[in-house]
C-alpha cells in the first residue's frame, strides 16, 4: 500500500508541471465563454416558445376545431434518452458500466448529444461512444462524417466508404495501434440522405491486448442505422449547405504558392481525393516534415451566433491574434507523448479569414513507427502561420 502522505507529496510535485495561465486573460475568456452559453440557452428557450405559439396559432385559425391546447415544444434530447437508447441497442449478454450522456447544451458551440459507456463481452472492456449530428444536404463526398481521415496523420487507420441503395452513406474505420500500448478503435458512421448522422466509436483501453472488437462492425452498423435515434434529431436545427469544398488540386496549388521561398512540397504518389484537404512532405532549410492543410469555405456559417468565440475555442491553448485585415489566427505547439514516455513535438496554425474561410495546418516529423520526432520542424511557427493566412485561400 502506498503511504498516503507520500502520494500527496508526489501529487504536489507533479502539479508544478501544470501550465501557468495568464489569469486575467483566462478569466476574460471564461466570462466570454459563459456569456455564449447563456445566450445559447436563451435562444433555445425562445425558439421553444416560438414553436408553441406558432402551433397554437395554426390550430386557432382552423374552423370547427376543439379549443387549441398549447402544443408541447420539441425539447432538446436528454442525456438519459441518449444513454437508454444506446444501452437498448447493445447485445444483452455483455456487461455495461460507466454509463454517461450529454446534451448539446453541455458542450461547446457546435456540440451535439452524445452517450458513452464501457461494454465488456467477457474478454475485456471497450469504451463505446455514440454521437448524433445533422449535416448539410445533399450529401457529398466532402460532407462531415463521410470523408476518410487523413491517411498521413492517421497512418494506421483503414477506411471503407459505401453508399447504400437508399442513398445513405456508411463510413467504416479501423485504427490499429501505432506502437505497443497504443489503443485500437473501430468506428462506423451512418448518414441518412436527410442529413441525420449517427457515429459510434468502439475503443480499447491503452495497453489492452484484445485484437478483435467486442462489438462487430455489423453490430455497430445496426446501432447507428437504427430508427431509435430519430427522436434525437427532433428540434435539431437544419444545417445550411456549405459552399462546395475546394478540390485537392486547388488546395495543393494554393499551398505551394503560400510556402516560404525556398521551401518545396511533395504530395507523394498516393491518391488524395478528400475535398478541401491535402497532405505531404515539406522540405525547407535542410529539414523535411509532414504537413496537412485543410481549407473550409463558409466555416463561419456553422456558428451563426458567434463564429469568433467558436474559432477561439477551436484554437484554445494557442496564441490568438487578429491581423489588420480582420483575419483571426491561432498558432501553437504541442508536446506529444509516445511509447514508453518518449516525447515529440507538433506545430499547428489556423486562420479564420474575413470571408469566413477557415484554413488550418499541422506540421510534424515522423520518427520510427509513426512516432513524433522532438527535432525542429521544416517550417517555423511563423512560417506556418504565414501559410494559413495567405489571402489566396479565399479563392482556393
Amino acid at each position: 500500500m502506498l503511504p498516503e502522505e507520500d502520494f500527496a507529496r508526489a501529487l504536489r510535485a507533479s502539479a508544478d508541471l501544470a501550465p501557468e495561465p495568464a489569469v486575467e486573460l483566462f478569466a476574460l475568456a471564461a466570462e466570454r465563454r459563459g456569456r455564449t452559453r447563456v445566450r445559447r440557452r436563451r435562444t433555445a428557450a425562445a425558439s421553444a416558445v416560438g414553436v408553441v405559439a406558432a402551433a397554437a396559432l395554426a390550430l386557432a385559425v382552423l374552423p370547427d376545431r376543439p379549443a387549441p391546447r398549447p402544443a408541447p415544444a420539441a425539447p432538446p434530447v436528454s442525456a438519459q434518452f441518449m444513454t437508454v437508447t444506446l444501452r437498448s441497442l447493445l447485445p444483452a449478454d455483455g456487461l455495461v458500466t460507466d454509463v454517461n450522456g450529454q446534451t448539446a447544451d453541455d458542450q461547446l458551440p457546435g456540440g451535439h448529444p452524445l452517450a458513452w459507456l464501457d461494454y465488456d463481452d467477457g474478454r475485456g472492456p471497450v469504451t463505446v461512444l455514440l454521437t448524433v449530428n445533422r449535416v448539410a444536404v445533399p450529401l457529398t463526398d466532402g460532407s462531415t462524417g463521410v470523408q476518410c481521415p487523413d491517411s498521413l496523420s492517421e497512418p494506421t487507420t483503414s477506411c471503407r466508404r459505401e453508399t447504400r441503395p437508399d442513398g445513405s452513406r456508411v463510413l467504416t474505420l479501423v485504427k490499429q495501434p501505432r506502437w505497443t500500448g497504443d489503443d485500437r478503435s473501430w468506428t462506423v458512421v451512418h448518414t441518412a440522405p436527410d442529413g441525420r448522422q449517427v457515429r459510434v466509436d468502439e475503443t480499447t483501453p491503452a495497453r489492452a491486448l484484445r485484437e478483435q472488437p467486442a462489438l462487430t462492425e455489423a453490430q455497430l452498423l445496426d446501432v447507428v442505422s437504427s430508427d431509435a435515434w430519430r427522436p434525437a434529431f427532433v428540434g435539431m436545427p437544419a444545417v445550411s449547405a456549405q459552399p462546395a469544398a475546394a478540390p485537392p488540386a486547388a488546395v495543393l496549388a494554393t499551398l505551394r504558392g503560400a510556402l516560404p521561398a525556398g521551401a518545396s512540397f511533395d504530395a507523394g504518389t498516393g491518391v488524395q481525393d478528400t475535398p478541401g484537404r491535402v497532405h505531404g512532405a515539406v522540405t525547407a532549410a535542410g529539414r523535411t516534415s509532414q504537413l496537412v492543410v485543410s481549407v473550409e469555405h463558409g466555416w463561419h456559417r456553422g456558428f451563426p451566433d458567434d463564429p469568433r468565440t467558436a474559432f477561439e475555442q477551436l484554437g484554445y491553448g494557442s496564441t490568438l491574434a487578429v491581423t489588420g485585415d480582420g483575419t483571426r489566427t491561432a498558432v501553437g505547439e504541442r508536446t506529444v507523448l509516445g511509447p514508453d514516455g518518449a516525447t515529440g513535438r507538433s506545430w499547428h496554425a489556423a486562420a479564420l479569414l474575413p470571408d469566413g474561410t477557415l484554413v488550418s495546418a499541422q506540421l510534424w516529423t515522423y520518427g520510427p513507427g509513426f512516432t513524433y520526432s522532438a527535432e525542429p520542424g521544416a517550417l517555423t511557427s511563423a512560417q506556418l502561420l504565414a501559410v494559413v493566412t495567405a489571402p489566396a485561400w479565399s479563392h482556393a
Binding site: A13, A30, R199, T335, L337
Partner: protein, 174 residues
Amino acid sequence: MDSTTTTGADEPLDFRDFAAARARHLVRTAYLLTGGDAHLAEDLAQEALSRLYGNWRRVSRMANPAGYARTVLVNTFLTHRRRRSSGEHVTDTFADRPAPGADPALRLTLLHALGELPQQDRAVLILRYWEDLGVEETAAALRLTPSAVRSRASRALTRLRASLGDQLDDLARP
C-alpha cells in the same frame, strides 16, 4: 491545499476577479485529473468557470464558491469526452498529451500512471490527496458512498504502487 474563498451574503464576488483568483489552482487540479494533458486541463478549467458564469448571482453568495467551482470542474472532467470525427478539422487532431520539457521524467511517470486509472478513481485520488478533502466530502462531491470512496482510493493507490514501484519514493522524497 486549497484556500477557501468565503464571502458574505451582502458581498457578492465579481466573476472576473473570482475566475482570475481561482484559475491557477483549477488548471493544476485539472492537470492532475487529466493525467498531465496541459491543453485539456486549461480547457476543462475554463469550461468549468464558464458554467459558473450563468449562475453567478447564486454562486457568488455561496459560503464556498471555490469549493463549488472545484465540484463543477470534477463533474466537467467526468462528463468530458473528446469527440473524434472523421470530418473533423485538422486542428481537432491535436488531442495528444503534452508534457513539459525540463526534468519531467519522474513526475511525468506519475501523471502517466494517473492517466491510466479509471476516471472516477482518479477523481477520488485528486480530491482526497490534492484537494485534501475528507472521505465524506469526496463522496458528496462525486455522489458516491463513503465506502466506495475508500475502496476506490485503496484500489487506485495499490495500482499506482504496482505501476510505479520505487520511483514513487523518489518522487515523494522532500
